[in-house]
Symmetry: C2
Subunit: 108 residues, 2 copies
C-alpha cells in the first residue's frame, strides 16, 4: 500500500446481502479491515474466537456486541472503540437495519 | 487494555493550546494514538521522519498534509485514510481552525 488517499465510507455497494469485509492493510504485524453491515448479525449460536487481538472502532451506524463471559449487550455508536483480546468469545447481536454500519478493525 | 468501551470523540479539552496525543493502545506490535488538533500545524520547516509505518484515518475536521517528495497538498476530510511509510517525510500544513480535527493513527 502506498500513500494514496482513500475514504473508508466510499465504495460501499448497495443492497448488501452479507457482511462485507475489505482488507485495507496487511503486514506481518497488523491487519486492518473495513467491515460493513446492514442489519446483519452473527449467525445464531456463533461465537467469534480469534487467534489475534482485535481493536475495533465503529465509524457509522450502530451495533450490539455480546461477549460470552458477560451478560450485557454492549451498544456501539459512532466513535466507540473497544479492544477484543484474542479468544474473548464474542458475537454481533445486531446492526442497524436502516443504514450501513461501518467498522474499522485492527488485528494485531 | 481491557474490553471496556470508549469513544474517540470524548474527553477533548476545550481551548487546545497544542496538538493533543493520547495513546489508546500499545503493544510490541502496534501503537494506536488519538491525535486532536484545532488549527495547529507542524512547526515551520519541521518534517516528521518516523521509524515506524503509520496508518492514519481522519475522523472529524479536516487537514492538509504535505509529503516532502511530492509537490501536492493532500486535503483530508472525515473517513479519509492514508498509509505513511516509515521515513516518508511529511508535515501537517494546516488543520481546521474552527473545530477539532480528530485522527486515529496506527503505528506498526
Amino acid at each position: 500500500m502506498n500513500d494514496s488517499i482513500n475514504n473508508i465510507f466510499n465504495n460501499i455497494p448497495g443492497g448488501l446481502k452479507a457482511e462485507l469485509i475489505d482488507v485495507i492493510l496487511e503486514t506481518k504485524a497488523v491487519r486492518i479491515e473495513r467491515i460493513v453491515s446492514k442489519g446483519h448479525a452473527s449467525p445464531p449460536g456463533l461465537w467469534y474466537d480469534q487467534e489475534k487481538d482485535e481493536f475495533v472502532i465503529l465509524l457509522d451506524g450502530s451495533a450490539g456486541l455480546l461477549f460470552e463471559e458477560k451478560d450485557e449487550l454492549i451498544v456501539m455508536k459512532p466513535g466507540d472503540y473497544l479492544n477484543i483480546p484474542a479468544h474473548a468469545r464474542h458475537r454481533v447481536e445486531w446492526t442497524d437495519p436502516s443504514k450501513e454500519t461501518v467498522w474499522m478493525a485492527v488485528f494485531y
